[in-house]
Symmetry: C2
DNA sequence: ATCGCAGGCCAAAGCGCTTTGGATATCGAA
DNA sequence: TTCGATATCCAAAGCGCTTTGGCCTGCGAT
């Protein structure tokens, strides 16, 4: 059932039917009602390719998810980010064009999406420290919003980000206030911009009290449970074991907790954990008080907001760079407590 | 840069340029070379909407991800499934149209994708016990592949599934062989078809040895860490505590382990865990031997295979229902061992 | 010299929609 | 009665591509 069929069926021109369906005023209410009814009855839905070709708008946004080429990992935060994005988009009649891009192909992916007219805008995920994508997207003239920010990028661009530096500064201060001074940071991959900012916040907090962490107490890796476990185990067994650990994700915190408990130590008493919590639906930090003391910022909310912004940029191309900084709140859980003044934990089991 | 520009620039007709680019034989090799070179030089990429309108093929497949309406949860397995799917698709020039659909809207989502010509086929995720989607998709005439199977569906349809029943039968037998008889099952949501099959395999295994589990030892919930923790804690504290636990995901297994260790018990000695492992990149079951004894089947591989099948159905619409059953392998980890003959664990700490 | 045929190219007709630029009818005001 | 608004509707021109159905040209066969 296409427009031609429908209009001849109604004894009207395609123009009139199209206008009736799209809410234009040049059509009588009686006719509009008749058209809408017929359209519903026959399940007519305009072909989006044809419509898109005629209007020049794709009614879709691109979500380019980088597949870490070294690790071939797809971060599960995308599932929640997309859930947020999807809500906003479907409410406005947009679709999501998903592209997985691994490293080299990524430039081609953007160019292709733009040139083939598949999308009206894109979301840039997982920005790196000096990300080349900004310049390329600007050159392409494709509206975009970065989920995260890019250190070393001078030009203005639209982004939504959590205040990673401040969040980790807060988390660090929290631990320092509890008397901890040997604090470790289990962070995301080194080239990720967010990891850089988190480390920054951590170091600033330490420096403000005249402290400086051991180099081996700052580790970067994909944020998996076994990274948390392995890194924590190693640190607890070495000299100058940390009394508190900052982790970049709940999954890593799970691993840290396992390592601590495997040593016969108690989380929140012998070793404290403060984690960042993206509020992923399948990794809830539940309990009252919650299991982990955490800096909390919903990635799903970020997805909603990011798309709100992108749609705004698409609707009004000139409306300048939009920027949203989300604040993470520190929630006190059971995983952090005052430092114990006793023998280093490393020897607790020896 | 569109076809018209490119062809007038080359002094050729649009027909010839189009044919040259698409590999038709009616164009001399010399001309073809000239065209390809010019296209590359000017970064020409055919507008996919126009092409799609002309050919009738969308060159995109739909991935409809159900957002559990009760729980608003997006299962992280989709991230990995999509990674597999993306590999296959991008190699063949297809794009992914992602739709999040929550319950009621889902029918509309499929209808809309089909009617608007946005996709050439779809993947159906998370099938329920008696899923209405099969009938609807068949009526729509849209090629589709189900990721999972549908009990109570008589008509033939294309699917790819892991042999859930056999996997859990294997896992159960493994535990039974180790002498366990009080085995619990922490399963996914009750209306999910896979959960049903897993329970089946479990019950079959038990019945084969004349055993039948306690009703409260079979639990259904979203597969989160805290479900594993809470359920395990409760069971260990009650009468007739299980000596072994079967979990439906690594995340749930994490929770079960935490509960066991919190009771001062040792996983693999006091209480065994066998989990299903979807081999999610961010939830690796690492170690040698691995941390968890598990039935292993890569969901990423399933994604690849599912799209291979879907593309086949799209290319040759009549090629009949395609069905792939994947076998999960049982890998022995450190989380399962022979049953201890001693006082019930419930009292271990009292 | 003529014919047939293949190779190489092109004009134009779609694909299904939106949108421009009228056309026609109606109606109150002059 | 005549005239401009208004309100309704319509024919046709795109959007950028593919594809059908030719049109030439040259060449070997008749």
């Amino acid at each position: 059932m296409n427009l031609k069929d429908l209009s001849s069926l109604l004894g009207l021109s395609q123009t009139t039917v199209s206008r009736a369906l799209n809410g234009y005023p040049e059509v009588s209410e009686a006719t509009r009602a008749r058209v809408l009814e017929a359209a519903a009855a026959h399940g007519y839905r305009p072909d989006s390719r044809a419509r898109s070709l005629a209007t020049g708008r794709a009614m879709a946004v691109g979500l380019v998810v980088p597949v870490n080429s070294r690790h071939e990992r797809v971060n599960p935060i995308f599932a929640d980010f997309i859930a947020g994005a999807g809500d906003v988009l479907s409410a406005r009649g947009y679709d999501i064009m998903l592209s997985l891009a691994s490293g080299e192909d990524e430039a081609e992916t953007y160019r292709s999406l733009a040139a083939r007219g598949r999308v009206d805008g894109v979301i840039v995920q997982a920005p790196l420290i000096r990300d080349w994508r900004i310049k390329m997207l600007r050159d392409l003239g494709l509206p975009f919003v970065v989920h995260g920010r890019i250190s070393g990028e001078d030009a203005a661009y639209s982004w939504i980000d959590m205040d990673n530096r401040r969040a980790f500064r807060k988390a660090t201060d929290h631990l320092l206030d509890l008397g901890h001074s040997r604090i470790a940071l289990l962070n995301g991959l080194r080239d990720m911009d967010f990891a850089h900012r988190r480390e920054d916040g951590f170091l600033q907090g330490m420096a403000a009290r005249g402290l400086s962490p051991l180099a081996r107490h700052i580790q970067n890796a994909p944020m998996t449970e076994d990274f948390g476990y392995a890194a924590t185990t190693a640190m607890l067994e070495a000299e100058d074991a940390p009394t508190a650990i900052l982790t970049a994700s709940v999954l890593v915190a799970f691993g840290a907790r396992r390592a601590i408990e495997a040593k016969g130590l108690k989380v929140g008493r012998d070793v404290s954990i403060v984690t960042h919590d993206d509020v992923l639906t399948y990794l809830p930090n539940t309990g009252d008080p919650p299991m982990f003391t955490a800096t909390r910022s919903s990635v799903r909310r970020a997805g909603e907001q990011a798309l709100e912004m992108l749609l705004q940029l698409i609707d009004a191309p000139g409306c300048g760079p939009l920027q949203t900084l989300m604040e993470a709140e520190l929630v006190q859980g059971t995983s952090s407590g005052p430092v114990l003044n006793k023998e280093p934990h490393a020897h607790a089991e020896t």
